[in-house]
Every structure is written in C-alpha cells, then in structure tokens.
C-alpha cells in the first residue's frame, strides 16, 4: 500500500525580529489511507506550522516553505498553484481547528457553511447541497437538524460548533483530515463525545487523520502511530505502543513520566522535564534537547542527531544514545514505581 501523504524533508522558516526561526526543520513522515497519526510535542515545536505547511497556509511574509516535498496521492502539493491548492483544501483535505468560532463564518448560517463547500467543490445545486447538509449534520450527531441549519455559529455551544466543523470537513468525502487541537477548548465529557465521533467516522469512511494534541491520553486512545516533535524536528516516531512502552528518546521518556495518571497510585512528586523550552532562534549545532537531557554526553554537542531506526521495525529516534539508554530508562522507571 502506498502512502496517502508523504512529507519529505520539509523546511518552513519565519523571519522575525529576534532572528530566523526554523519552525519546521527537516520533517519527514507518511500517513497511510484511513490511518490516524498523532503529532505531539512541546509548545512551539512546529506541530501547527507543519500542518499549515501541508495546507499551504503559511503567512508569507514572515513565513516561507524553503525546502521539501509534500506528496499527497502522488502529487507534490508544493508545486501546485494557489488555485489548485484551494481545490484540494476542503475537498481532498478537511481541516478541524481548536477554535471553531474562528474558522466558521460568523455571518453565515450553519446550513450555508456546509452547502457553500458543497457548491464550491462539487458543483452541487442548492437543493442537493441542502439534502446533503442535513445528512451530514445527522451523521455528526446534531439533533433537531432542521432548526440548527438556520442558526448562526454564536448560537451553538462549543461542542456543537466543533460538530459543525467536522461536518464541513467531511462534506466532500476527503481522504485526509488535519485536526489541530480539535478538543482542547472543550469540556472533558464533550471532548470525549467529539473524539469518539471522529474515530467512528474516520473508520467508517476510511478517512486518514492527522491529530495534533497535547493530551497524551487522547493520543493513546486514538492514534495508531505517533510523531514526537521537539524544536522543529521529529525526535521520535513509531507505533503508539512502541512510543508509550518502549520510548527511545530522552524527551519522550521525560514527557511520559511528567504526567500524573489516574490509573496509577498517586506519586509523592511529579517528575518534570527539567529546564526551559528551547529558543529556536538560538539553536547551536548540537542536539536541541541537550540542555535539558539527563543522558547528554560530549558527542551530543557536536552534531544534531538524525532520526534513525531503533527498537522494533518502524520505530525511529533522533538520539545518539537511544539504544544504550533503554537500560537506564528501565532502572529509573523501577525506582519511581518503588
């Protein structure tokens, strides 16, 4: 099976007052048809910029995609014209963002937001579009669809608005949906409803999903594969099981250990990732995680480690010491448990 999305060596930069920010600094990964891939990582590590680059929505200036290929269904999105790209967005690739209020048009009714997409991308006539809109709203679990169609975004709750966003994203039978923090602004029980809905629909319609989130529980529940980002690069990638049960990068190990878990006995103290997030304008030639890394050695200052195979097939880490740190990691885990 060939990949639906194949991102190769993507570089996206921003020129800022403080200097050049390499927000995405050589990122490569694939997404298979129907698969859910999660992207996690520190705030500012380039998760959103990476996703916006796929959609070619980077504000220029100050931003620019400087290198790489984004193969979607075999075509390089970076070579398409703006007009062709607009066709792809909303038709082949759907989007769901954190704050639906900013992505929905406040002066259009819910019904119109959906029918507009259908008319624009599928040339549907008004009547067919309205029928389809009703169908989509039922599919995303909106009750009382007739009345809702005539309402405006501000008349809906946050959870409802997110359902509408999902309906818009699904309207033209996309092959891929990119969801950037889709439930961060929602309540725990509403978040659970929305995530279950997305999971159900992506399975049923065989839509691939890239989900960006801070919530490691959400990743564990919904993703088959995970990319962990730090300072503009993927530092670890693998199956969800490998990432959670056999992490091979010190940042991933520290991240997993820093969150308290409801299913485990209360710990006396949390075990944070020490130090501060990196300043992307001031990275040196060494490993970007080095100042916070408990395993750093001299070699780590000499070059930035490349993503290399480690552990099971399909598991990669960008750390000079990923193979040897397994033993140290397991000793530390036993100490914490004791």
């Amino acid at each position: 099976m060939s990949a639906l999305l194949d991102v190769r060596n993507l570089h996206t930069e921003f020129r800022t007052g403080a200097g050049l920010v390499r927000a995405v600094d050589g990122v490569s990964y694939t997404v298979d048809p129907g698969e859910t891939v999660a992207i996690v990582g520190e705030s500012g590590s380039g998760k959103s910029v990476g996703a916006m680059s796929i959609l070619r929505l980077i504000p220029d200036p100050p931003g620019r995609i400087t290198q790489g290929q984004i193969l979607f269904d075999g075509r390089d999105l970076l070579r398409l014209s703006q007009v062709e790209m607009r066709e792809i967005r909303g038709r082949d690739i759907g989007m769901v963002f954190q704050e639906p209020m900013t992505s929905l048009n406040p002066v259009l009714t819910i019904g119109r937001q959906i029918t507009e997409v259908l008319e624009q991308h599928q040339g549907a006539d008004r009547l067919a579009a309205e029928r389809r809109a009703l169908e989509l709203m039922e599919m995303v679990g909106i009750a009382d669809t007739g009345r809702r169609l005539k309402q405006y975004p501000h008349q809906l709750s946050g959870g409802m608005r997110q359902r509408v966003m999902i309906a818009v994203a699904l309207a033209c039978n996309p092959k891929l949906i990119i969801a950037d923090e889709p439930t961060t602004a929602l309540d725990v029980t509403i978040q659970a409803q929305i995530l279950e809905l997305m999971k159900q629909l992506t399975l049923r319609l065989n839509v691939a999903l890239i989900v960006i989130t801070h919530n490691l529980g959400v990743v564990a529940r919904y993703a088959s594969r995970v990319n962990v980002m730090y300072a503009g690069r993927i530092v670890e990638a693998g199956s969800a099981d490998a990432i959670y049960h056999d992490p091979r990068h010190p940042y991933t190990i520290a991240l997993l250990r820093s969150v308290p878990r409801l299913d485990q006995p209360r710990r006396a103290r949390l075990d944070p990732v020490d130090g501060q997030p990196p300043d992307l304008t001031r990275l040196d030639g060494g490993c970007a995680f080095r100042p916070r890394c408990r395993f750093a050695v001299e070699q780590c200052g000499e070059a930035r480690p490349a993503l290399a195979p480690t552990g099971e097939a399909g598991h990669f880490a960008a750390c000079f010491r990923s193979d040897e740190l397994v033993a140290a990691r397991d000793v530390a885990a036993r100490e914490v448990a004791a």
């Binding site: 919530n215 529940r221 820093s258 409801l262």
Partner: protein, 331 residues
C-alpha cells in the same frame, strides 16, 4: 488552640449563591431572568489543605473563587474567613483582607502587565499595601521571591514577553506570594502550560504550600492534576455541588453519576489500557444556567435518572464519613 480541639476551618462557605441578572433589549433593557452561576454551595477548607474544585465549563468554579476573594458580592450566603463573615464587607475592610488572600490566574500572558518589568510587577502589591516603603528592601524582597519561585533574580529586569509561559506563571506566583498570604485561589493556574512545564509548576505549588503553610482552593479541569495535588475535592455541576469527598475516596469510589461520567471520560496515557477500556461518553450537552433543568440539574444526561429526579432537587447527603453526594438514587 489545643491540639485535640476541632480546628475551625480557614474558610467556610454556607449557602453561597451568585445570580447574575440577564437583560434583553438595548434601549429599554429589562431583566428577563438570572444566570444562577452559583446556586447554594457549602464547603469548608482546613488550614494547610488543598481543596480541588472541578466541573464542566460554566459550572461556577471561577465565580465561586471570585466570591470568596470578594471580587464579587455574593447574592446570598456566608463566607467565613478565619471565623469572620466577609460576605458583606465594604471596600475599606476588604483592603486588609486582600493581603491574606491572593489569586493565581490561568493565563500568564494576559494577567501580567506587558509594559511593566517583572520586578515591578512583583513589587506592586508590596507598594500598594505600603508594606515596605524602602525601595532597596523592596528590591531585595523581589529577588527573594523570584528565587523562591525558581527564577534567576536577574529576571527582575525583564519584560513578560521575554519569558516562556512557565516562567511567566512563576512570576504570577511570586506576585501572589509577595504579601505573605495565607490563602490562595489557583484558578486554572497550570492549565495553559505545556505538559512538560506543568509538572514543574505543580511541584512548586506543593513546595510553597509546605514551606509557607498555605491553603489552596485549586480550580482545574485536569482531573489527574487535581488528584495529584489535592486532599479533598468538590465536584460542581451547573452551579451546585454534586459530590465532595477526600481525594482518594472520590477517585477510587465516585458515587454521583456525573462524577462517574467525568472520570471515565479521561483517557489514560497508555494505549494498552485504552485498548481494553470500555468507554461510552455521557450523552448530551451541558444545559444553560439561565434555564436549568428542574429537579436534579443532571437528570437529562443521567443514565440512572428516574421520574422523581425531574421534580425534587437532591440534597447533599453524607453517605460515608466525609463523602457527600447530591443524588437521590445513590445509597
């Protein structure tokens, strides 16, 4: 006070209510109802304790905190701080109270004045309350507060935008500590922070509690952080308390159907656990506090609801020692 006497709680609220008027019309505005943001809430916090306050958006957590801090004048009820009812205090008396109670907000970005240097931000309450008129000693105090909060004293000369989110939150904490308060309301104090930094700040809050014998009201929606940090937890739904218990008891043995729904909605960061977990999210939306459902406000979403739940408002009952539940169906 002798050791075996029952210690009076540092804070106690009785029948606390906060109703905001809702009006309609722009020219001739008339009142059409009330938002019952907080609708009859009772709880107490012991000295040195951290009480967690959880519940869905809009259930009245922040409003409860603001009433306690007397940033709002409650519509009804008593707020006893160190034995004194502060619910009706006027402006003058509140000044003295403000020194003893502080708040740490969610958003380290908007709660710090961007045009002030960090040192001045922290010194401001000291100046306003006239605690330390000497500028040199005030600067020394700022340096001390910064290092207590794990920041380099040199940060005093920086501006908030020159710091990371975690560092800014530490500045907010340093400012809250400036007047040696006894009680701090932490309103989503770690929610906006990145996971890796959140743990640092949680540890700091714990250290400070021990070091200065602080008492916290910890408002948060992240239940795993609440479980880690709190001794007791109050669960609110639509302005009312639905459950209250010691932390371990609440998480090990939740009795109210809403608490159960809330806890089961939290995904565990472990794919093996999630693969085997049976999980059906609670249906429905949180209703509007303007027109709350009759009887038990949770009944439209409740899997256990019976006819009677639509009629009578359940009272908070102590079903086990220290474990209070407002549900008529739970025995």
């Amino acid at each position: 006070m002798s050791g075996d006497a029952v210690e009076t709680p540092l804070l106690e609220v009785r029948g606390l209510a906060m109703h905001f008027p809702v009006s309609e019309g722009i020219v001739l505005s008339r009142k059409v109802g009330d938002v019952k943001a907080v609708d009859g809430v009772d709880f107490a916090i012991k000295r040195g304790e951290t009480l967690g306050l959880v519940g869905e958006s809009g259930c009245g957590k922040t409003t409860t905190g603001r009433c306690i801090l007397r940033l709002e004048r409650p519509s009804a009820g008593q707020i006893l701080f160190d034995g004194q009812d502060i619910s009706g205090l006027g402006r003058k008396d509140l000044v003295a109270l403000r020194r003893r109670m502080q708040v740490i907000f969610q958003d380290p970005y908007s709660s710090l004045n961007p045009r002030m240097k960090v040192g001045d931000i922290i010194a401001e309450p000291i100046k306003v309350h006239g605690v330390e008129p000497d500028a040199n000693r005030r600067r020394a105090r700022v340096r001390e507060l910064l290092s207590i909060c794990g920041l380099d004293p040199k940060f005093a000369d920086r501006y908030p935008h020159e710091m990371s989110g975690g560092q800014r939150q530490r500045v907010g904490i340093a400012r809250a500590l400036a007047l040696d308060p006894e009680f701090i309301v932490c309103d989503e104090a770690v929610s906006a922070l990145d996971v890796s930094i959140q743990a640092q700040v949680v540890n700091l809050l714990e250290d400070l509690r021990e070091r200065f014998r602080l008492t916290y009201l910890f408002i948060a929606h992240d239940l795993s952080v609440v479980r880690h940090l709190c001794q007791r937890v109050v669960v609110m739904y639509l302005g009312r308390i639905v459950e209250m218990a010691d932390c371990d008891e609440l998480f090990d043995n939740p009795l109210h159907p809403y608490t159960q729904a809330l806890l089961s909605a939290v995904p565990i960061p472990d794919p093996r656990v999630e693969a085997t977990r049976d999980f059906r999210p609670a249906p429905g939306e949180v209703p509007s506090p303007i027109n709350p459902p009759s009887g038990c406000v949770f009944h439209p979403r409740c899997p256990m609801a019976v006819e009677g739940c639509k009629r009578a408002r359940p009272v908070l009952r102590e079903l086990r020692p220290g474990h209070w539940v407002a549900c008529s169906e739970v025995q």
